[in-house]
Amino acid sequence: MPQIPIIMPQLGESIAEANITGFLVKPGDTVEAGQDLIEVETNKASMTVTSPCGGRIEKFTAQLNESYAVGATLGRIETTQEEAARLGLDVPPPVRPGDTDRVTREGGNGSRSRVQPTVRGLPVPANAAGASYLSPRLKARMTELGLSAADLAGVAGSGAAGRVTVEDFEKFIAHLEKQKTSQASSMRVSVADAMRRSWTRPLAHVGLPVCLDPLFAFRKVARPKPGPALCALRALAVALAQNSAPAGRLVGNKIVHPSSIDIAFAVEAEEGVLVPVIRNADKRLLKDLIAPYNKLVELARGRKLPPDATGGSIATVTNFGTFGLEWATPIPLPEQTLVLGLGAARHAPSWDSVQGKFVPIMEANLTLSFDHRVIDGGAAGRLLQHVADLMSKPEEL
Amino acid sequence: MLQTVLEPGMAENTALFRERYLAACRFMLLARLLDDKFAALWRSGRIHGGVFLGRGQEALSAAAGVWLKKGDVFAPLIRDAAGRLAFGETVLDAARTYLGSALGPMHGRDGNVHRGKPKEGYLPMISHLGAMISVVNGILLARRFKNISGTVGLASIGDGATSTGAFHEALNQAAVERLPLVLVVANNHYAYSTPTSRQFACRDLADKAAGYGVAVDSVDGTDLNACLKTVGQAVARARAGRGPQMVVATLLRLCGHGEHDDAGYIDPKLKASPAGRDCLKVAEEHLLRQKWADAATLAVWRGEVIREIEEAVAQAQREPAPDPFAEEWRAIATERLSETHEEV
């Protein structure tokens, strides 16, 4: 009686293996072709392995909670000759041609990779193909010209799997040189570098409208007057002091919590943005932050910030509302995971359920840009909501 | 190294023979005391690597050395301290090589018994036994090309080396080319720890000569008198163009294979036999008996030799060791073809 192997199917593009989570039948059971036999889980989803033919489960060689590669044999089904013939399973698989059949070595680079994937579910082939592969020569040439991988976006690659070869690159540069160019300032270049490095992370954004009336009322009577951005900064500091995980860094499988709540704020200077830092913003009240904040703004605008006034912050607050913008998706600095944004205040109708009508309020969008590896939308939303709540009671900040 | 040649059949009671005997005896004493000095230096940790002595084989080796003249070729082996000195090597060069002086003939690149001066006909051995014989052949053949006649090449080997392919090929080659080669085989009964019963199956090593078409003489290697006569005749015959000559001497090594070896495997019966006699004692006793020298002379020799050795050793020890940073590290003469391997 022919014995047909039960094979781990290719469960999705780039899946290399799956975990056995359950057996739906047992050895000795009679099954039909296409019947679900084994439950498996990949990093994406749960799926089932179905029977290749009708017959009797002879044995399972796979074990519960173990992982098996795509193509691995998980068990065997005993079936009749007719059933095997019907499904074309009675012909033995073609013998792999041996080395002596070939004059040349099979598989130059890439098709016989000797390196096994180390990250589950995401094979990382150690070969020289793929759109993001930069050869040593290409890297050397790019270094010579002061370019980075981001500068190659949009360059068509003619190499294996679409990689950009040196020839493609030289054609690209030659093409660029025919167009009008102007010199970028060094600040521009360093901001570009910071943004590029930051962008290697999956960034996402959430936002909600916040009513600014309590804030404006508070400002009328407060002496000195805190700006809206500083209020937002202090609110964020208080929120993070209660739960600092959203501002943590993900390194491997650990979240590194910040050691102090240092929050930066954006100041536009000529040709770029400076981000001075308020250190330990959670440990001082809003009224005590006003003077240091104003001093930092002054220094920033005058390009006289001391070196210890920047760097080492866990989040940035940016008031893009000053440009008249209602919405923006800022990018956190490479060492940060969060940017809190405040849009332009505008008159907006708000439903007052007590009065049963729309009443005018001053409203602005509060946005949070975050590293999606560290927190998800829900946590981001909760943090933003918390900040909004804190900003509605500015006298307590 | 003395200038004249023994005529075949020259009697031993001639002034020449006596002069040769006295010279050989002094070289034997020098070799023995120099070997003792090297052994002592080794035991006190001042010599790096192995020490290989020729104790017990001085008579045969000195006999070879005193019959060779300037312009001949000598390929000594491990136990030829006496022959090397007789051929003209200085005590200083021997000491320099053992003590690793940068000024020695090998400049620290090789050591202990692997020393020589090829351009002076004194070949530095390589460790592969038997390999030097064909090199001697080559020099002799080249002299034939250059129409230089009247020189001989003498190669020393032991019983063990007669088993090597190199010995076989080279002796055959010398015979085919009829070269003036003298092959002196010191059968000291052991190749390291291997007794001759495990080395060859022929009755006597001398029997091999017939297989190559080569003349052979056997001799008691402990008897300087006999060695001088036999080796002298072989050298004279070769020099006279009578083809390769082989001498097989019977003796015993009176030391370990190297100083690291205690030679515990040597059969005590052999040690007690005539082959186990100390050739130096035998030679000195003969000298005294023949009245060619008296005890006072021997004492004077001893004193001179000890002084010579101590001066040479002291000088060699004061000399600098090779400096790896000053070394050129190039193995070929043609500099432009030498590859440099720079580090990052």
């Binding site: 040349t104 130059g108 040593p136 290409l138 | 390999a131 064909s134 080559g138 190039r330 070929i332």
Partner: protein, 321 residues
């Protein structure tokens, strides 16, 4: 008038014997018979007493050559097949190759090795020995690929004061012809650009140079221009020329008839990767014979060593990376 690779070798020896009384030839069957391949045909007659038959004693042949060199001669020894030089291996690597370093006395010996495979020759008449000899310090190893180089490099080998292992490819002996012998030549130690190209560099030596040139021709209609470097000597290797070529093309394929472990191809790649890492647009590749002794049957032999077809196939993969 055309002259074969073998005839060029004979001419060079005749030239050396004529010009330098220190030269003589020693080896099996080299005398009246003129050598197994006729590389010394008539030389024993033309130069009486200077072309000598030896016994079958590779060890003693080499040892004798070293001794003669110490005495000031310039011996040329012929090993009947490179494969037999292993019997003289000890004298080559331990006597000849160490003499200068140990004693400062140069050793101007030339050892001629008929090497490389021909169909039907089998495991013991086909070997490439350049790898083992190149490995030992103190030796120069030459691998001429052309008739002209066979001539000029042998002359230079005799003139060099060091032991030279002169690897003559048997397949080229009778099949490779040239119009005439050169009066000038690239010196030993310099590689030759056998074919200029743009897209890839193939580094080869000896018979494989011709296979590489064939492969390059096959790739031209496909739009590829392949540069072929003929090393000429494998010890020393002209790393500068190789590096400059890779600087132009960015892709490297090394081809050798010897076996895969180590060898000239590995050596080239090691050097280019460590000294010219930033020149490579793709991983360097190599193609060698299969890792078995050289087979006898022509079907097996044809698959055992790199051929123009195989080189082109590998080149294509590398070009498309």
């Amino acid at each position: 008038m055309s002259i074969t690779y073998l005839e060029a070798i004979r001419e060079a020896q005749a030239h050396a014997l004529r010009d330098d009384p220190r030269v003589f030839i020693y080896g099996q069957d080299v005398g009246a018979f003129g050598g197994a391949f006729k590389a010394t045909k008539n030389l024993a007659v033309e130069f009486p007493g200077r072309v000598l038959d030896s016994p079958i004693s590779e060890d003693a042949i080499i040892g004798l050559a070293v001794g003669a060199a110490i005495e000031g001669m310039r011996p040329i020894v012929e090993m009947q097949f490179a494969d037999f030089s292993t019997v003289g291996f000890n004298q080559i690597i331990n006597q000849a190759a160490t003499l200068f370093w140990r004693t400062s006395v140069p050793c101007p010996v030339t050892v001629r090795l008929p090497f490389g495979g021909t169909s039907g020759s089998g495991p013991f008449h086909s070997q490439c020995m350049e790898t083992v000899y190149a490995h030992y310090p103190g030796l120069i190893v030459l691998t001429p690929a052309t008739v002209e180089d066979a001539y000029s490099m042998l002359l230079e080998a005799v003139a060099i004061d060091d032991p030279v292992i002169f690897c003559e490819h048997k397949l080229l002996y009778y099949h490779l012809k040239a119009e005439s012998l050169p009066s000038e030549a690239l010196p030993v130690g310099k590689a030759r650009i056998a074919r200029e190209g743009r897209d890839m560099t193939i580094v080869a030596y000896s018979a494989m140079v011709h296979e590489a040139l064939e492969a390059a021709k096959e790739l031209t209609p496909e739009g590829w221009e392949v540069e072929v470097v003929d090393l000429r000597s494998v010890k020393p290797i002209d790393t500068d020329t190789v590096m400059a070529s890779v600087a132009r093309t960015g892709r490297l394929l090394c081809v050798g008839e010897a076996w895969p472990w180590g060898g000239v191809t590995a050596e080239i790649i090691a050097r280019v990767t460590s000294e010219g890492y930033g020149l490579l647009d793709a991983p360097p590749q190599r193609l060698n014979a299969k890792d078995t002794p050289v087979p006898y049957h022509p079907n097996l032999w044809a698959a055992h060593r790199p051929t123009a077809r195989a080189i082109a196939a590998t080149a294509r993969k590398l070009l498309r990376l």
